[in-house]
């Protein structure tokens, strides 16, 4: 059952490679940005999975909570919140660039744009 136990991490690897493949293999700039977002999302899952402790509960310290309760680590969630903001900003800048590239070249296919550049 070791494989199922690491289920989250298998998913991370699959999503990561799928995203990276989309960035490298697609010629359409929008698909590249989408691939980049998928790639980043895999890292978000990696962080959040590492914060979960089996049997751990929400990390709210209160006097009514018994002393032997195990808490999940909240810090990875906070860290990844920052990284999600960074990811959204990257996608936004990328999308804005694509709009301007479309205005300047009339295309968002990388191979067509490169033909104009020749």
């Amino acid at each position: 059952m070791k494989i199922l136990y690491l289920f989250n991490y298998w998913i991370v690897i699959v999503i990561m490679l799928a995203g990276l493949y989309a960035v490298i293999a697609s010629s359409n700039l929008v698909k590249k940005i989408a691939g980049l977002s998928i790639f980043q999302a895999s890292v978000f899952i990696l962080y959040i999975s590492s914060g979960k402790i089996l049997g751990g509960t929400a990390p709210i310290v209160d006097s009514s909570v018994p002393a032997d309760v195990v808490f999940s680590n909240p810090l990875p969630h906070v860290l990844i919140l920052t990284a999600i903001v960074v990811g959204v900003a990257t996608t936004a800048v990328g999308a804005a660039l694509i709009i301007r590239i479309h205005r300047a070249y009339g295309s968002i296919e990388e191979n067509e744009i490169l033909e104009y550049e020749e």
Binding site: V43, A83, V93, G94
Partner: protein
């Protein structure tokens, strides 16, 4: 006040950026960005003095302590102080330069946006140098990268957009690799503080995930610092960006990534793990040789001068990685000195090239013919900085190349000294092409009338950096003396 100097280095440019957008008036915005970069320069000089006299300066953000795991520590040692000094120095010179330079490159209503992105980029770069928290380092790296994508896309040419987009793709992949590596370290150690990591990580070096995190972090930062063969984003980004942006990024962005890489090697993972156990040093040396040779050879072939300087940067990045890879006190000291000197020299070269573009509208070598008679000050600046790039004695470039060659003169590594000498000769070739065209060729027959000398608003910042590069070639206590001390503290013994 003086207790908060460290954080002001980041806070001043960070808060000036939105103010720039509110001010709207081009001249006011320029005044604000010059003032705030000037303040950064002043603070980094004060901090360097303070660190030099009384040792490392630390600052806990918001007064939170580290044991809880939520406090973010800022720390400035000699290495960081030296990097912060040249980043703010180049930042100040380029901020002065940008006002006149942008008149011809960007519509007036976009100047505040440019200044805002520029100050954010500076805040990010300075943040990387002062932080002692690895996750914070990632955030600052992304702040500086995102704003540099915006800055590059402001180039006049539509190719700037594509260059910026490609840099965005490569840069984000690099930064995400860094993020993966940091996540793997954190899940093992539960801390993000560099000095805490330095204590716990040596016990964990047998773990596969720590080794994987080393690989991710090295690869991510190597993409960011454009180490051959991960340099493909760099030439077109520098070629198509506005002149001021090329000068700023060439002087600071890749250098700060190399700083971060050195930090991770020596202050986080530790030399025994990275160099002795995982042989990263050999990998860096192996990649730096083609970087130096191919970078210089491609620079010779370029017709566009901005692209030529960009390829020359790739060769110089090779020198920096060579010093890091050798990993002795002498070689890392040479790398730190070269970080400092090359930042001044390469920015001065890009700034003087910006003067030429401002007057002639072109950066092609064919448009230079006979230009030295019409723009004597600009071409003199280019020549002096070019000599520094080659490494002629009495220039700053000589000091660092000399230090690097001396570091390679060991029984095992002496062939590397030959490679350095060959690439210096190649640098003579590509700099000489420019000098020959400008000084010894008659003006092109089709050229109508005279080209005036560049305005003072461009010449003053350019010459500021040129003169400083001469000054640091003669008075070497700051760049070389402190760099060796910093390397001793970093590498240890």
């Amino acid at each position: 006040m003086s207790a908060h100097l460290l954080i002001l280095l980041v806070v001043i440019p960070l808060f000036s950026a939105p103010l720039c957008i509110l001010l709207r008036r081009s001249r006011l915005v320029w005044l604000l960005s010059s003032l705030s970069t000037g303040a950064c320069l002043l603070i980094s000089i004060l901090l360097l003095q303070q660190v030099y006299r009384s040792g490392t300066v630390t600052y806990m953000l918001g007064g939170w302590s580290t044991p809880l795991g939520i406090g973010i520590e800022y720390r400035l040692d000699l290495f960081a102080a030296l990097v912060a000094l040249f980043v703010s120095l180049v930042g100040f010179a380029v901020a002065l330069y940008s006002y006149t330079s942008l008149q011809k490159e960007l519509p007036r209503h976009k100047h505040p946006l440019f200044a805002a992105a520029y100050l954010l980029c500076l805040a990010g770069l300075l943040g990387i140098t002062v932080t002692a928290d690895v996750f914070n380092l990632f955030v600052f790296l992304e702040i500086s990268s995102l704003s540099s994508y915006a800055l590059i896309s402001m180039g006049r040419d539509r190719a700037a957009l594509l260059a910026s987009f490609r840099y965005l793709i490569m840069g984000t992949i690099g930064a995400t690799f860094l993020l993966i590596g940091i996540g793997l370290i954190y899940s093992h150690t539960g801390t993000l503080n560099m000095s805490a990591l330095q204590k716990v990580l040596p016990a964990l070096t047998g773990k596969a995930s720590i080794q994987a995190s080393l690989a991710f972090i090295m690869l991510g930062l190597a993409i960011k610092s454009a180490l051959f063969p991960l340099h493909l984003w760099l030439p077109s980004a520098y070629t198509h960006a506005p002149s001021a942006v090329s000068a700023f990024l060439a002087g600071t962005a890749t250098k700060v990534s190399i700083y971060a890489l050195a930090r991770f090697i020596y202050s986080v993972f530790g030399k025994p793990f990275v160099i002795t156990q995982e042989h990263i040093g050999i990998a860096l040396i192996t990649l730096s040789i083609p970087a130096m040779l191919l970078g210089s050879m491609l620079a010779i072939k370029q017709q566009n001068l901005k692209r030529m300087l960009a390829y020359s940067s790739i060769a110089q990045i090779g020198y920096l990685f060579l010093g890091l890879g050798l990993s002795t006190v002498a070689s890392v000291g040479a790398t730190i000195t070269h970080l400092f000197n090359h930042a001044l020299i390469k920015s001065a070269l890009f700034l003087s090239l910006g003067c030429i573009v401002y007057r002639t509208g072109k950066a092609e070598i064919s448009s230079l013919s006979g230009l030295a008679r019409q723009m004597p000050w600009t071409m003199a600046a280019f020549t002096v900085a070019g000599l520094g790039l080659i490494g002629i004695p009495l220039t700053a470039g000589f000091i660092s190349k000399w230090a690097l060659i001396r570091a390679t003169l060991t029984p095992d590594y002496w062939p590397l000294a030959v490679v350095i000498l060959i690439t210096s000769l190649l640098a003579v070739v590509y700099i000489w092409r420019v000098i020959e065209a400008a000084y010894f060729q008659p003006p092109a027959p089709g050229s109508t009338g005279r080209t005036a000398e560049a305005p003072l608003g461009l010449l003053v910042p350019t010459w500021l950096l040129v003169l400083l590069s001469l000054y640091f070639g003669i008075q070497t206590t700051v760049n070389f003396g402190i760099a060796v001390k910093a390397a001793t503290a970093l590498v240890g013994g």
